[in-house]
Amino acid sequence: MPKCTINGKQIEVAEGTTVIEAFMKLEQNIAHYCWHPGLSVAGVCRMCMVKVEGNPKLQIACNTKVTEGMVASNEDAKVKEAVEWILGFHLINHPLDCPICDQAGECGLQEYYMTYGKYDPAMAEKKVKKKKVVDLGPTVVLDSERCILCDRCVRFTSEVTKTNELSIFNRGDHAEVGVYQERPLNNNYSYNVVDICPVGALTSKDFRFKQRVWYLKDFNTICNGCSTGCNVKAYYNENGFYRIKPVYNKEVNGHWMCDTGRDMYKFVNLEKRQTSAVKNVNGTSEEYSPIQATREIGVLLRKNVNEAAAVLTGQYTSEEYASFFATMKDFGIKDFYHWVNNPEKMEEFDGLLLRGDRNPNTAGLRAEAKKANINLRNAKDLDPKKHTLIIVAGPEVQAFYPDLQKSVDAWSKSQTLVWLSSCKNPVLFAAHWIVPMKSFVEKNGTFVNYKGIEQKIKKGTTIVGEALSLDEFAIAIKGERVDVEYTSPLGGLA
C-alpha cells in the first residue's frame, strides 16, 4: 500500500494504482480525454500531465504507477503550460462546429478550454478536412473532423462488447475512426460510445438535434428495462424526456447500459400515455377521473369478492405491491396471478447487462407476495370464466409483452376486466375499465434486481398529473381519500 502526495494531499492507495486514479480518489481536477476508468490505458491524449518530483520530464498520470513516497502535482506552472499547448494541439484542426454540435454544453474541449484555453489562436493554416455526418450504423453518427482520436470508442468495442466494429484508419493527422465495409456499428451497447466520446464526434441518432443539453434537467434513477436494474440518469425538460444515460455503479452495471434500456424514456412521454380512466361498455367509451373510476371499481369488487382475481406484472415497485396485497387481502381476494411475459427467455443473459427477464422488479414481486403469504400462480392458468372481475396491474413497457393482445382478449371474457396501464394502447379497449398509472419516473419506490439488490427509484417530475400509482389505486379502491396532483408541469392533461 504505497503512500503518495497528490497536490499536497497525502493518500494511501492500493498497489498498482495509477496516478490519475489517485487524483480521482482525492477528487482533484485533472484534465484527460483518452483515459476512462472502464477501459484500458491508451495514453494518447497527453492531457493528464503531472510533475513527479525527482523526474525532470512531465509524466502522464494515466500510465504512471504510484510508488512509495511519490510526490505528484498538476498545479505546477510547467504542467499548466504543457496542458495549454496540448489542448491547443487538440484544437488546431477542430472545426468551429459548436453551434451545430450536439455535444456543445457537455463537451470536454469546451470544458478544458475555459481553464486551459490559449484564447489567442496561433494557428493560421488551413484545417484538415475530413468526412462529416458519417453513418456508422443504426444508432450512431460520426463526424471525423471533430474527433480527437482518443481511441475510447475503439477500445470500448474491442474490450467491452468485443465486437470490434470500430477502428482507426489511416495515420497522422488524416487518421479517422471508422467501421469496416459492410460491418456497421450494430450492437446492443452502441450508444455507450456516444457517452464516452469526450467531444461531439459520435452523436446519437436518437437524440440528434432534438434538444440542446443546457435545456435539460436530470435526476438519477433505475432503468426499468430488465431485471439487471442499471443505474441511470434521466434527462427531461418541460416538453418531456429526451434521453437516458448510465451512471456508474460497481455492483450493478459498471459504467455501461444497453441500448434497449435507453429506449425506456419513450414510454413515459405524454403522447404515449393514458391520461384518463375509461369505461368501455357495449362499444362506447366513457371518460372518468381515475379516482372516481377506481371507487366505482371498488364498489364492483365488494360485490364480486369471491370471484375476483388480481394479475400482477413485475413492473411496479415493492412498496406498491405491499400496499396492493394488503388491500386485496382486506377485501378477501384469494386468487393472485403472476403474468410472466416470456417464461422461456426468463433466464437468458447477453453476457454483459441485458437479461431475459425484462421486468425490473420480478424479485420484488415474489418477495412481497411471500411476505404477504400469497401464493402467486402463473397467469397462464387463469380461467377468465371462473372470475367475474379481474384486476390487471399491466406492464408499463408493453413492447416487452408479446402476448399482450392475446391476454387482453382472453381475459376480457370475464364479466369485468380492469386494466391498470400507464401507456395508451388501442389493444386495451377490449378491457372494461382502463385506469391510468404513473410511470417509473413519476414515483418513488424500490426495485429489487435479479441479484436481490434493492435500489431506489426517484420521482423526477410529473407527466400525467392524475395518474395513480398502484398503492394510490389500492387506497382509492377502498373508497378512501387520495391526494393527486390535478395539474401537470409538463403540460399534460389533468
Binding site: 491524449c45 497527453r46 487538440h90 484538415v128
Partner: protein
C-alpha cells in the same frame, strides 16, 4: 582512416553466399560461441561497451540483462527497418553479408537464450529481403539454424518479416505491434519490450549493425574490440555519408573519428567551389551542426551529445552553401508529418502544423511571428509523446530555426530563398 572490421570482405561478391562466407572464416565464431556459456556472451558484450547502432545508442549488454528470469519464451528481433532518411548502412550489410548478420543473431540469441527471432525488414528493401531469405535457407541447410545447432542442444529459428513502409515501425514497440499483425503504432512504456514485448513476452530488439558487431566482439574478445574507438564509445561504426559530397557511401571508422576527416578524406571533400554550410550528423532527426561546429566534432556519442546533437543512426548529411535551409527543413518536416502515426496529439497535430507553416513560408505567405511559432510548437511537442517521433521532428526544427534564423527571416521578408536558385517553390511552380 577506415578500420574494416565489419566491412572487411564487403568488396568480395562471394561473401554473400554461404560457401564464400565460410571460406572467409564464416560461422567459426558461432562454433566458439556455442561452447561458451550464455552468461559469458552477455558479459562479453557488456564488457565491450557496445552501444545500440540504430539511433538511440543504448548499451546493448545492459539491455540484455533487463530480461526477466521468469521462464517465459524470449524473442530476439532484428530491427532492419532502416527508415531514417539518409541512412543506408543496414541495407548494404544485408545485401553484401547476410550471413554475417545471421551469425551475429544466432550468437546473440544464444546469449539471451531465445529460441525464435525475426528480422523485421523494411518493405522497400525487396532485394535485401530476397538475399536474406536465401541466406537463411542456406543456414538451415547447413545446420546453423533449426533444432540442435551444431550438436550443442541449442535450438533457434529465424524468420524474415517484411514491413509495409512505415517509418514508425522502426521504433521498437511500433515494430513489435506491426509484427503482431496490428497497426504499426508504438506502445506505451512501461512495460518495456525487455519485460513485455512481442506477444507480451520478453523481447530484445537490436539493430542489424549491433547484432553483426556481436560476432566480432565474441571473435576477438571485449578487450580487443575496445581498442577501437574511444573510452566511452568503443568499437567501429558504419557511417552513411551523403549530401553535397564527392564520394558518398558507407564508411566504417572507429568511433571518435573527426567529422572533418570523414568529410574531407573518406568523403572526398565538397564539390568544386562550394563551402560547407551545415552537417546533419545522425540522420534527419538529429539537430543540425553549423560548419564551425562540424569542423570541431568527433563522431562519438559523447562529443555529439555535448554539442546538442546525436550520433543517431550514423547518417551524415553534408549541406553546402547551395542549399536553402528553409527548403530543407520543409522537406524534412513533410516527411515527419507524413510518417506520424497519429496516436499522440502533440505529434499528430504538431508535425502537421509545422509542415503547414513551413509550406506557407516557402510559398511566400510567411508571417513575421512564424519563426518563433515554429520554435515554440516544436518545443512543446518534444518529450510529450509515447515515442520519439515528435522529438525527431522537433529537434531539427528547433536547431534549424535557431542556427539559421536569418535564412528564415529573409525568406519571410522577401518571399523567396536567401540562396539563389534553390527555392523549393521555384522548383515546383
Amino acid at each position: 582512416m577506415e578500420v574494416k572490421l565489419l566491412t572487411e570482405h564487403y568488396d568480395k561478391d562471394e561473401f554473400q553466399g554461404i560457401s564464400g562466407y565460410k571460406k572467409l572464416g564464416g560461422y567459426e565464431v558461432l562454433k566458439k560461441a556455442l561452447k561458451m556459456k550464455p552468461e559469458e556472451i552477455v558479459a562479453e558484450v557488456k564488457a565491450a561497451g557496445l552501444r545500440g547502432r540504430g539511433g538511440a545508442g543504448f548499451p546493448t549488454g545492459m539491455k540484455w540483462t533487463f530480461l526477466p528470469n521468469n521462464g517465459q519464451p524470449r524473442y530476439l528481433l532484428c530491427n532492419a527497418d532502416e527508415g531514417e532518411p539518409c541512412t543506408f548502412k543496414d541495407r548494404m550489410m544485408m545485401e553484401r553479408a547476410p550471413h554475417q548478420m545471421i551469425e551475429g543473431m544466432i550468437i546473440s540469441a544464444y546469449g539471451i537464450q531465445s529460441k525464435k527471432s525475426y528480422v523485421y525488414i523494411r518493405g522497400e528493401y525487396t532485394y535485401a529481403a530476397r538475399v536474406l531469405e536465401n541466406a537463411i535457407k542456406e543456414a538451415y541447410q547447413a545446420g546453423y539454424l533449426g533444432e540442435n545447432i551444431l550438436g550443442s542442444g541449442f535450438t533457434h529459428h529465424l524468420d524474415v518479416y517484411r514491413g509495409a513502409g512505415a517509418y514508425i515501425c522502426g521504433e521498437e514497440t511500433g515494430m513489435i505491434s506491426s509484427l503482431e499483425g496490428k497497426k504499426g503504432q508504438p506502445k506505451l512504456k512501461p512495460p518495456f519490450p525487455a519485460v513485455s514485448g512481442y506477444l507480451e513476452k520478453p523481447t530484445i530488439v537490436n539493430n542489424v549493425e549491433t547484432l553483426a558487431a556481436v560476432k566480432y566482439i565474441i571473435r576477438d574478445g571485449a578487450a580487443a574490440y575496445k581498442k577501437h574507438g574511444t573510452e566511452k564509445s568503443p568499437g567501429t561504426k558504419l557511417f552513411s555519408l551523403s549530401g553535397d559530397i564527392r564520394k558518398p557511401g558507407n564508411y566504417e571508422v572507429p568511433l571518435g573519428y573527426p567529422l572533418k576527416d570523414l568529410i574531407n578524406n573518406e568523403g572526398g571533400g565538397l564539390k568544386q567551389g562550394r563551402s560547407l554550410k551545415a552537417v546533419i550528423p545522425g540522420g534527419t532527426s538529429a539537430p543540425v551542426l553549423t560548419a564551425e561546429e562540424a569542423m570541431k566534432a568527433t563522431m562519438d556519442y559523447e562529443c555529439l551529445a555535448q554539442m546538442g546533437t546525436m550520433l543517431g543512426s550514423g547518417a551524415i548529411t553534408v549541406i553546402d552553401d547551395s542549399r536553402c535551409m528553409v527548403d530543407l527543413l520543409g522537406v524534412i518536416l513533410h516527411f515527419y508529418h507524413h510518417e506520424s502515426c497519429g496516436q499522440c496529439t502533440p505529434c499528430r497535430e504538431g508535425t502537421g502544423w509545422i509542415d503547414k507553416v513551413l509550406n506557407s513560408i516557402i510559398h511566400g505567405r510567411g508571417r513575421q511571428q512564424d519563426v518563433d511559432l515554429l520554435d515554440q510548437v516544436a518545443k512543446n511537442m518534444m518529450g510529450r509523446t509515447i515515442c520519439a517521433l515528435a522529438d525527431a521532428a522537433a529537434l531539427p526544427t528547433i536547431s534549424f530555426v535557431n542556427k539559421f534564423r536569418d535564412e528564415f527571416e529573409y525568406y519571410i521578408r522577401e518571399g523567396r530563398s536567401k540562396v539563389k536558385g534553390s527555392s523549393y517553390a521555384e522548383m515546383h511552380h
